[in-house]
């Protein structure tokens, strides 16, 4: 019998997910110097979540948690500089020299972008929640199918 969900999609999405996540992480980190950034990263992750939902794979379900932590993170990043008298949202840039890796430079823009990513992802998780119609009738209830591990 043919299942209502395509196994091929599940396979394809599962195979593509790690690469997509790596790309999202790249966008997040590279954004400050190249095209990318927190939004793009969040949207890529959101697309992954969408695909996994469509394919019936496991995916994050706690939109509220993502949103809450994202908002707290960006709000905190915004407010922390005031604690030592800097203005709101003043960026703290720091760099350290590491033995193998060389000079590593980063700033508070990165956690800010991470917060952005979390919120964007949360929004898409919420959207998938909101668009799934609990009243739709017929068919198998099709709970999220567990990943087969062999």
């Amino acid at each position: 019998m043919i299942a209502s969900r395509s196994p091929i999609v599940r396979l394809g999405v599962r195979a593509a997910s790690p690469l997509a996540i790596v790309i999202a992480v790249y966008l997040l980190f590279a954004g400050h110097n190249r095209p990318g950034g927190g939004f793009a990263a969040g949207l890529v992750l959101g697309a992954v979540v969408t695909l996994r939902t469509l394919a019936g794979l496991q995916r994050p379900t706690h939109a509220t948690g993502l949103i809450t932590s994202g908002v707290v993170l960006v709000a905190a990043i915004a407010f922390i500089p005031l604690l030592w008298g800097d203005p709101l949202l003043d960026q703290q840039v720091g760099s350290i020299e590491l033995p193998v890796l060389g000079k590593v430079k980063s700033g508070s823009a990165l956690p800010f972008d991470i917060g952005v990513t979390a919120i964007v992802m949360g929004l898409i998780v919420a959207l998938l929640d909101g668009l799934s119609d609990p009243t739709a009738e017929g068919g198998d209830p099709a709970p999220v199918e567990q990943e087969e591990r062999r």
Binding site: H32, A78, L89, F112, I119, A126, L127, D129
Partner: protein, 754 residues
């Protein structure tokens, strides 16, 4: 001291409300204390001839709004009336009302009393205005005391709307006047002239006329008789309606050079004098007779004050004093009749002179004072008025004299008719036992009319200084007990004789079976208010039709209109066809896809077309040199298309058909909007007055922002606040979507497994 007295009133309001919660009578008794004290204070100040110190309290300095009190002679006279009669009315009320709770009434009445004090003490036009408005509100509450009755509600509304609208006209007039004079102090009012002054004069007179129930604004006053009789006696005869007269009196000096003041004042006064008296003769309800009589008497006072002659002013002030006493007494008697017989119809009543002898005595004393018969206070004031008219010259003399004589004849006639109707002739109406609390105040007030004649010196000591405040020369006149057989006296006697004859004659025609006379005017006001209320939906429907597309088209049209100024600056010099040919191609593709998407009839087809537009825009960003935008646009487009497909998929596949005319409107509005946007952008970019500091942006981005991608540095650093806001927007949207999802789930759960 004045603040202290007002404070006592405030305290009294609280106490009266508290006591009234248990017993209305107790509340009234408590409420009487503050007015009694105030009356005593005013009497003392008058007798010692030492006016109290002026006092003031700044409220809004920048607008010259402040509470400034100065109790001069006129104010003290009015204080005596307001608080003296007030105390008596409270006392009377303890007899008038049946036992039971009623916290609001004594509190409201005392609040009115306090407002009236503020009004008479006012030394600034704004103080006067503020308390003027208070009296309108408290009057509304008091008129509507028995609000379960729809006619009472209508009467209250009518009174509030006329006096309220009058208040607004007065506000305008006072604003014009003060901007002309440059001061708001009443005692500083300097004579003004010119068109602005004329405008101020008209507005102020109209405002005064609404309050003092001058024709044609009098229509609220008979309706206000729906209030309990103590209220009628207090507000609608003795005090509040005098506010307009007082205003005419105090503002008069400013308008001595304004012709309109006198003309309009006399028009109001004389019309009201005559029409009010005729009204009093038409009605059979004793309260209405008195109320119409009040309109008439107020008209007489305004006539006298508007003349602007010292003797007339003096007569007007005297009349103000005398009228308060006799009219309040008459109302109290009518209230007693009402309570003890259950009716006020003078045609139905009869023979009360036997069953209510004390009330009869009061009615005769007060009524004759109103008719101007000796030896009563009313006689002296009427005499003064006739003399004042005789002293005039030119057309004023004929007009004033004629009006006063005609008015007085009618006054005597309705007084006679009232006295005969209620107390004379016919079988005695059955009466309930006498209530002392009702009798005593009436006797005091009527007695004051008699006493006023006897102790004329004291009256002159009160009236003279009051008149002097308005016109120093007016203070030089005196009321005279026995003027001798002068012209005025002869006229006076002729008036009495002919009026009595007329009244007796008319009294014979009163019959309970005859229908009550039509109310003239009041209906018209109610109808126009109701008409306003019923036409308002039609006006509203023109703009508030409830159709969202029309609202949106309206907004778009407004935007197009707003963009038209740009067209005047449109130049084409700075325009190029494209920055590079790819841009042109993509633009073409986008526009074609967008147009097609607008007209495609498949819902999901349209959604996918939107996706194509998104791709095109994204390409445009690539061409423009905006990789971040292109990237974000692409990803956003993906999610949006997913949302469309999954969110709206279950809908009917095709859009509903579109109505022809409206579609034409939409196309026109849409086309104009597109054009407007283009013109605005093109015109705005022709001569920019500033540019972004690109070099600084680049260097600062690297040095301070620590990043090469300037757009990202702007987003996460320079304009991170925007980003913060925008992600909170997203978070909020997520909350909204989740909550709607939960509603759906809950509904699905309550509906149970299908």
């Amino acid at each position: 001291m004045m603040w202290l007295l007002l404070g006592a009133h405030g305290l009294g309001i609280g106490l009266a409300a508290a006591a009234g919660g248990r017993s209305l009578r107790a509340g009234l008794a408590v409420a009487a204390i503050a007015p009694a004290a105030t009356a005593g204070w005013a009497a003392a100040a008058l007798l010692r001839d030492r006016p109290p110190e002026p006092t003031s309290l700044v409220w809004v300095d920048g607008l010259d709004l402040s509470i400034r009190f100065q109790a001069d002679g006129l104010a003290l006279l009015m204080t005596l009336l307001v608080s003296g009669i007030g105390a008596l009315v409270f006392l009377y009320g303890t007899g008038y009302f049946n036992p039971g709770p009623g916290a609001r009434f004594p509190a409201s009445l005392l609040a009115f009393s306090a407002s009236m004090l503020g009004l008479v003490w006012a030394d600034s036009v704004w103080t006067l205005f503020i308390f003027w408005e208070f009296t309108s509100i408290t009057s509304f509450l008091l008129v509507g005391h028995k609000h379960e009755d729809p006619t009472v509600r209508a009467a209250a509304r009518r009174a509030l709307m006329i006096t309220g609208a009058g208040g607004l006209v007065l506000l305008a007039g006072l604003l014009v006047l003060t901007s002309e004079i440059g001061s708001s102090t009443l005692t500083d009012l300097a004579p003004v002239s010119g068109p602005t002054a004329t405008l101020a004069a008209i507005l102020i007179l109209v405002g005064a006329a609404t309050k003092s129930a001058q024709v044609p604004f009098h229509v609220w006053l008979p309706g206000a008789m729906a209030a309990p009789t103590p209220v009628s006696a207090y507000l609608h005869s003795a005090t509040m309606v005098k506010a307009g007269v007082l205003l005419v009196a105090v503002a008069g000096p400013a308008f001595v050079d304004v012709a309109a003041w006198k003309v309009l004042g006399l028009s109001f006064g004389i019309t009201s004098l005559l029409w009010g008296a005729i009204g009093a003769l038409r009605h059979r309800d004793a309260k209405l007779v008195l109320a119409w009589g009040t309109v008439s008497q107020l008209g007489l006072m305004i006539t006298l004050l508007a003349l602007g002659e010292p003797k007339a002013t003096f007569a007007g002030v005297s009349m103000l004093f005398a009228h308060a006493l006799f009219k309040a007494a008459l109302f109290l008697v009518v209230g007693e009749i009402d309570v003890r017989t259950g009716t006020r119809d003078i045609a139905a009543l009869g023979g009360l002179s036997r069953t209510m002898p004390v009330a009869f005595g009061v009615a005769v004393a007060a009524g004759l004072s109103m008719a101007g018969a000796p030896p009563l206070l009313g006689f002296m004031t009427k005499e003064a008025a006739i003399e004042a008219a005789l002293k005039l010259s030119g057309p004023d003399r004929a007009i004033a004299l004629g009006a006063i004589i005609a008015g007085s004849v009618l006054t005597v006639a309705y007084t006679t008719r009232f006295l005969f109707g209620a107390f004379g002739r016919g079988p005695a109406t059955a009466v309930a036992p006498r209530r002392l609390a009702m009798t005593v105040p009436a006797v005091i007030l009527a007695g004051a009319g008699v006493l006023g004649f006897v102790a004329v010196a004291t009256v002159n000591g009160i009236v003279g200084p009051a008149a002097a405040e308005l016109d120093p020369e007016a203070g030089t006149f005196l009321l005279i007990q026995w003027p001798g057989l002068k012209t005025a006296f002869v006229i006076s006697m002729a008036i009495l004789a002919s009026g009595a004859a007329l009244g007796t004659a008319l009294s014979r025609h009163d019959h309970p079976a005859r229908p009550a006379p039509a109310t003239l005017g009041a209906d018209a006001v109610d109808r126009s208010i109701d008409g306003l209320l019923s036409i308002s939906p039609r006006i509203t429907a023109l703009v508030q039709h409830g159709s969202l597309p029309v609202y949106l088209a309206t907004l778009a049209t407004a935007a197009v209109l707003a963009a038209t100024p740009f067209a005047t600056e449109l130049t084409l010099d700075h325009l190029v066809w494209w920055d590079n040919p790819l841009q042109g191609g993509l633009a073409l593709g986008i526009v074609v896809a967008a147009f097609a998407g607008a007209f495609v009839s498949s819902r999901l087809g349209a959604a996918l077309t939107l996706g194509a537009v998104g791709l095109g825009v994204s390409g445009l960003f690539v061409v423009h040199g905006a990789p971040d935008l292109a990237l974000t646009q692409l990803l956003v487009e993906t999610v949006v298309v997913v949302g469309f497909v999954l969110g709206l998929g279950h809908l009917t596949r095709r859009f509903p058909p579109v109505n022809g005319t409206w579609r034409g409107v939409r196309i026109a509005v849409a086309g104009a909007s597109g054009l407007g946007a283009m013109i605005a952008l093109a015109a705005a970019s022709a001569q920019p007055t500033g540019r972004a500091p690109l070099a600084e942006l680049t260097s600062q981005s690297v040095e301070e922002g620590g990043g090469d991608n300037i757009v990202n540095v702007i987003l996460t650093d320079m304009r991170a606040l925007d980003t913060l806001g925008e992600v909170v927007v997203l978070a909020t949207v997520a909350i909204g979507i989740l909550s709607l999802a939960r509603v759906r789930r809950q509904e699905a759960a309550t509906r149970g497994p299908a």
